[in-house]
C-alpha cells in the first residue's frame, strides 16, 4: 500500500494495547465523532510508572495505528517521560504519515496528555502541559 508505511499497516492490522482498563488510574478521551476520530486512553500507574495502558479508537487506519504506537511508546515509562511524548515521535516511529493524516498523531498525543492530566488531577497533583508548538493543525474542515 502506497498510502501508509508498513509500520502503520502493521499497527493498524495488529494494534497493541487495545481494550479497556477497569478502574484505570487515568482516562483521557479526545476528538469527536463529527470529525471522524475519537481516541480514549486508559492508564494504570504504579509508582509513577505506567504499568498498563489500553486504548479504544474510532477513526481511520492511521488513527488506530497512531493510538497503538503511542501506547507502545510510553508503556513501562514514567508518567514524566510520557508527558514528553510528541506527535512527531509517533509519526517517526510509524515511519511517517501522509500529510493529511498527521492530525491523527496529534490526537494520540492529546489523548495521552488528557489521560495523564486525569491521573494527576485524581492524585491532586498539578499538571503542566508541554508547550505544543510542534503540533500540526487538525485539518478536518468541520472543527
Amino acid at each position: 500500500m502506497a498510502l501508509y508505511s508498513e509500520k502503520v499497516m502493521d499497527h493498524f492490522r495488529n494494534p497493541r494495547n487495545v481494550g479497556i482498563i477497569e478502574n484505570a488510574d487515568g482516562i483521557g478521551e479526545v476528538g469527536n465523532a463529527r470529525c471522524g476520530d475519537i481516541m480514549k486512553i486508559y492508564l494504570k500507574v504504579d509508582n509513577d510508572i505506567i504499568t498498563d495502558i489500553k486504548f479504544e479508537t474510532f477513526g481511520c487506519g492511521s488513527a488506530i495505528a497512531s493510538s497503538s504506537m503511542a501506547t507502545e511508546l510510553i508503556k513501562g515509562k514514567s508518567v514524566h517521560e510520557a508527558m514528553r511524548l510528541t506527535n512527531k515521535a509517533v509519526v517517526e516511529a510509524l515511519d511517517g504519515l501522509p500529510s493529511h493524516k498527521v492530525h491523527c498523531s496529534v490526537l494520540a498525543e492529546e489523548a495521552i496528555q488528557a489521560a495523564l492530566k486525569d491521573y494527576f488531577t485524581k492524585k491532586g497533583l498539578p499538571f503542566l502541559t508541554m508547550p505544543m508548538t510542534h503540533r500540526a493543525d487538525c485539518s478536518c474542515h468541520e472543527c
Partner: protein, 395 residues
C-alpha cells in the same frame, strides 16, 4: 483472490472493448484529420463509433461530441448553458445537493461569476421530484442539471418527468448520466434530455474518454479550443483507440442490459438483505429507485477507512463514497445530503457490483463485512458508549 466490488469507481476494460481498441495503436494509427487513407480510415472509424453510440442514446451522430471523460463533459455542458444563459440575462441554475463534484464545482465557479445556484434537497431517500424542479424554475433559469443516477447511493432520479417539466418551461436540461449509461435504459428524445454526459470507464470501456450529447440547435461552447476537431467544439487530436473501445463497451452494456441487471440485482438484493442484519446499520438511498449494482450502508460506531483497509486485507475492493474524494477527511456530501449526521456518515461502505461478480463472491463479501464491522466496533469507544447506554443509538 480479490473480489472487485467497486465498479462505480471504475471498471475492468472488457475483452471486446480492448479488442476494439488494439488496431488503432499501431496499425490504424493515422490522425483522423489527415487526407491520406490511413487518416481517413481513422475518420471512418470515428464516424462509425459516433453513429453506433448515437443509436444507443436515440440521437443523431452529429449530436455527440467525444471528450476526455465524464468530468470534461459535465464542465462543457454547464459552460454551454451558462454562456447561453448569460447572453439572455438568465443566470439561475437548478441542480441537486448530491451531484458529483464534476457538476458542483463548475457550479461553484459560476456562482463566483454572479450566477444564482439552487441545489434541490434530495430528502432521506436521495430522490428529487419533477414537481420540486418545476417549483424551483424561475423566469431567469437557464439550466436544470440533475444526475441520472447518484454515484454513491445509486438512486435513480425521475429523469423523464424532469425532462418533461423542463421542456414545458423551456429550460435547458442536462443530466450527468455517467453512472447510468450502459446500466439503465436511456432515450434522450423520449426523456427530453437536452444534454447528457457519459464516461466509458463506468461500463467496461477505458478511462479518459467520454462523450457529451447535445441536442441539435444548442450552440455548444468549447471548453478546449484549438484545431477544428469535433466540428470546432472540442479541440485536440481525437483519441481514436479509446473512442473505439468506448463504443464497443457501450454496445455490449446496452445490448446485455436486461440480462445483466437481472443477475446483478439478485446479487445486490442478497447483499442488502444480509448486511441489513448487522445491528445499527442502515441502507443509504431508496431501495427501489436504485442502480442494479449499488449497495451503500452506514454502520454506527465505526469509521469507513479502517473498514475499507481491513476489507482489502480480506480481498474485498470496496469504497466508502466516491473514489475521487478519498483523500478528503470530510464525510461524503452525498450522505449528508440525505440527512445522515456526520458521525454516521463517516462509517459508510459502498459496494458496486457488475455482471462479472458471482454469488459466491457476495457470500464472501457478507462474511467479511460482518467480521470487520464487529471487530472495529470492538475497539471503538463510541460503540462502548452506545453499548453502555451512555449515548443513544441514531440508527
Amino acid at each position: 483472490m480479490k473480489i472487485y466490488a467497486d465498479n462505480a469507481a471504475t471498471t475492468r476494460v472488457s475483452d471486446h472493448a480492448l479488442k476494439a481498441m488494439m488496431p488503432y495503436f499501431q496499425e490504424q494509427y493515422g490522425n483522423p484529420s489527415s487526407l491520406y487513407e490511413l487518416g481517413q480510415k481513422a475518420q471512418e472509424a470515428l464516424d462509425d463509433a459516433r453513429g453506433r453510440m448515437a443509436r444507443l442514446l436515440n440521437c443523431q451522430a452529429r449530436e455527440i461530441i467525444f471528450t476526455g471523460g465524464g468530468s470534461e463533459a459535465n464542465n462543457q455542458a454547464i459552460l454551454t448553458a451558462a454562456k447561453l444563459g448569460a447572453k439572455q440575462g438568465k443566470k439561475h441554475i437548478i441542480s441537486t445537493a448530491f451531484e458529483h463534484h464534476a457538476v458542483l464545482h463548475p457550479l461553484e465557479a459560476l456562482k463566483e461569476e454572479g450566477f444564482d445556484i439552487t441545489l434541490l434537497d434530495v430528502h432521506e431517500h436521495g430522490l428529487v421530484t419533477a414537481e420540486e424542479v418545476a417549483q424551483a424554475i424561475r423566469s431567469d433559469t437557464c439550466l436544470v442539471t440533475i444526475m441520472f443516477a447518484n454515484n454513491e447511493i445509486g438512486t435513480i432520479q425521475p429523469i423523464k418527468e424532469i425532462g418533461k417539466v423542463c421542456k414545458e418551461k423551456g429550460v435547458l436540461f442536462h443530466t450527468d448520466a455517467v453512472q447510468a449509461v450502459g446500466h439503465e435504459p436511456i432515450d434522450v428524445q423520449d426523456m427530453n434530455i437536452d444534454m447528457l454526459s457519459l464516461s466509458a470507464h463506468k461500463f467496461h470501456g477505458p478511462k479518459g474518454v467520454g462523450a457529451l450529447y447535445v441536442k441539435r440547435g444548442i450552440v455548444i461552447a468549447p471548453l478546449i479550443r484549438g484545431g477544428a476537431q469535433e466540428k470546432n467544439k472540442r479541440a485536440g487530436t481525437e483519441n481514436v483507440p479509446l473512442i473505439m473501445g468506448m463504443a464497443a463497451a457501450m454496445e455490449d452494456a446496452c445490448e446485455n442490459m436486461e440480462e445483466n441487471s437481472v443477475k446483478i440485482r439478485q446479487m445486490r438484493d442478497y447483499l442488502i438483505d444480509e448486511i441489513s442484519q448487522i445491528p445499527h446499520s442502515v441502507l443509504n438511498g431508496d431501495r427501489q429507485q436504485r442502480l442494479s449494482g449499488n449497495v451503500n450502508f452506514c454502520f454506527e460506531g465505526i469509521e469507513g477507512e479502517g473498514l475499507l483497509l481491513l476489507l482489502d486485507d480480506k480481498g474485498v475492493c470496496a469504497s466508502s463514497g466516491s473514489a475521487c474524494t478519498s483523500g478528503s477527511l470530510d464525510p461524503s456530501h452525498v450522505l449528508l445530503s440525505i440527512g445522515r449526521p456526520h458521525e454516521i456518515a463517516h462509517g459508510s461502505l459502498r459496494l458496486s457490483i457488475c455482471e462479472d461478480n458471482t454469488i459466491e463472491e457476495m457470500q464472501a463479501i457478507v462474511r467479511a463485512v460482518k467480521e470487520v464491522v464487529e471487530y472495529l466496533r470492538s475497539i471503538s469507544p463510541v460503540w462502548t458508549d452506545l453499548k453502555q447506554g451512555k449515548q443513544q443509538h441514531i440508527i
